[in-house]
């Protein structure tokens, strides 16, 4: 069985606090996922919201973070789910080079950039970025490769994703399917795709080569036990989406 950690931020603060536009349904998404996984027998270890969710939970200790802490560190559980604002980190030429997510408490910083992370070095295997633009096409691997150190699969969206009553069930639906052992990629696409609102979820796996990447992407479940890949073993990224 898997261990699960959820974080969500929807109530931001005016300056000098961490200022972003308010969101409404992030708690429902993240907690829906945690609750559904728990209902399927998995262990929901932590659930931090708003000012209790910290970017240090995602930043690696080598970069001054605390991602291994057992209270809320992303590397302390198998499956993480983060729901907040997000977008690509770009270089001076405008190319995507990473992913950034927003927090409301300046525990140390207001924003987490995944370029400060080493994900999967401990027990973390899967992560959902329930934000806008976490896996932007056409090359979502660019945003994630630098922090892929044992992580198996990332779930997110290309383009914007809706923050709305009508779509907040995606966390719960994904947790229900994933928790009972359905294939993770198809479960995420089934739960998060919205024809009406133009929400386009993406799932991305890594592999030692193309065949391995495809096999993992279309067959991995929380029970399947695919071996971890060290950063230097990754020879391929494979991703799928519906549009």
């Amino acid at each position: 069985m898997a261990t699960v950690g959820t974080e969500w931020i929807q109530d931001f603060h005016p300056p000098p606090g961490c200022n972003q536009n308010q969101l409404s349904w992030c708690a429902a998404g993240s907690q829906g996922f945690g609750s559904a996984m728990r209902n399927r027998g998995h262990t929901w270890n932590f659930d931090w919201g708003d000012d209790n969710a910290w970017e240090t939970d995602w930043r690696d200790p080598s970069k001054g973070g605390d991602s291994g802490n057992t209270q809320g560190g992303c590397n302390s559980v198998n499956f993480t789910y983060l729901s907040t604002h997000g977008g690509p980190v770009k270089d001076d030429a405008g190319n995507n080079i990473g992913f950034l997510a927003c927090f409301s408490a300046q525990h140390q910083r207001c924003n987490w950039s995944n370029t400060t992370s080493i994900l999967g070095q401990s027990v973390q295997r899967w992560t959902v970025m329930d934000t806008c633009e976490a896996l932007d096409l056409p090359s979502p691997w660019v945003e994630w490769w630098p922090c892929y150190f044992g992580l198996h699969e990332v779930f997110g969206f290309t383009g914007t994703s809706s923050d709305a009553w009508w779509t907040h069930w995606r966390g719960s639906d994904f947790g229900d399917a994933a928790g009972r052992g359905s294939v993770l990629s198809s479960s995420w696409l089934g739960a998060a795709y919205s024809f009406w609102l133009g929400d386009h979820p993406v799932a991305m796996s890594c592999g030692v080569n193309q065949a391995d990447g495809m096999n993992r992407l279309f067959n991995e479940t929380v029970f399947s036990g695919f071996p971890d890949l060290a950063h230097n073993q990754i020879g391929w990224f494979q991703w799928t989406w519906r549009s």
Binding site: Q71, M214, W241
Partner: protein, 299 residues
Amino acid sequence: MAEIQIPATRRRSIPGSLPVFSLRPPAVSGAALLQSARALGAPAPSRGAETILGEYWMTFQDGPFVVALHRRSGALTYRDRRWTVTPETRFDLDDRRSVAIARAFVRKARLLPDAGARLVVAGVTHLRMRGGPPGGEPGPETLLDAGVVFRRQVEGVPVIGPGGLVMVNLSGDGAVVGADRVWRALGKRAGRADVVDLERASGRLRSIYARKDLLGAARVTRIEFGYFEAGVHDTQAYLEPAYAFIIEVERPAVDDAPALRSKTVEVIPAIARPRQRWTMTVPRMASPSPARRVAASRR
């Protein structure tokens, strides 16, 4: 106080009044589920067949065939799990052929609760994949299936929202490998109501946004008018006209943070006194964490 940009749109004429319809409660039972499964093409139940009653779904499972009905909405989902993606999986049927197969399937499987309902093609989507080596160029995009989406119309008026649609999934050989339906059975007419015009609905939207404190510009990217049908998880008793405003907000880049976009939808009833009431609250989850966090290092 925030302003929202609403584009001037040339819209087809919106009727001055429309009938309101009641919706029949979903017929979810073991017998209905089995009947749906047979109509969808499942063989007679084997000894291993099982029906599972979950919190939200009632599911029939027999080998690779999985059919489920949602207990609140009557939404149906069907999967033939013999279809999986392999390195050889391809989809190259054209849209016209895909639509024809999907349309015939909807009729044959009696997928819609309203006999004679008009199926309007809303689009043909595809499950897609792509891959590449880190640091290298991605390979070509591969289509894996087709998802033919039909939307509902009621007396010529489009149905909008997350409901009122059917998606039929086809594999490359033209076989139906899945379907999803959110399409509540129409009941009786429950009166007729005057329709609020777009300007008045836009005024309501502006007043909602006037109370918000936004960073960056909010703009309406799409306006829809029609009967509003809710999604899989919602109980709905009436089908009534509404406007849906799909809204994007872009907060400009600040310091080291890039520009960030967000998207939401506001659904505004298009009649003065809607009968449908939405309970937009989420049950409080039993979170494993305490209400207030104290850093372990400070304890």
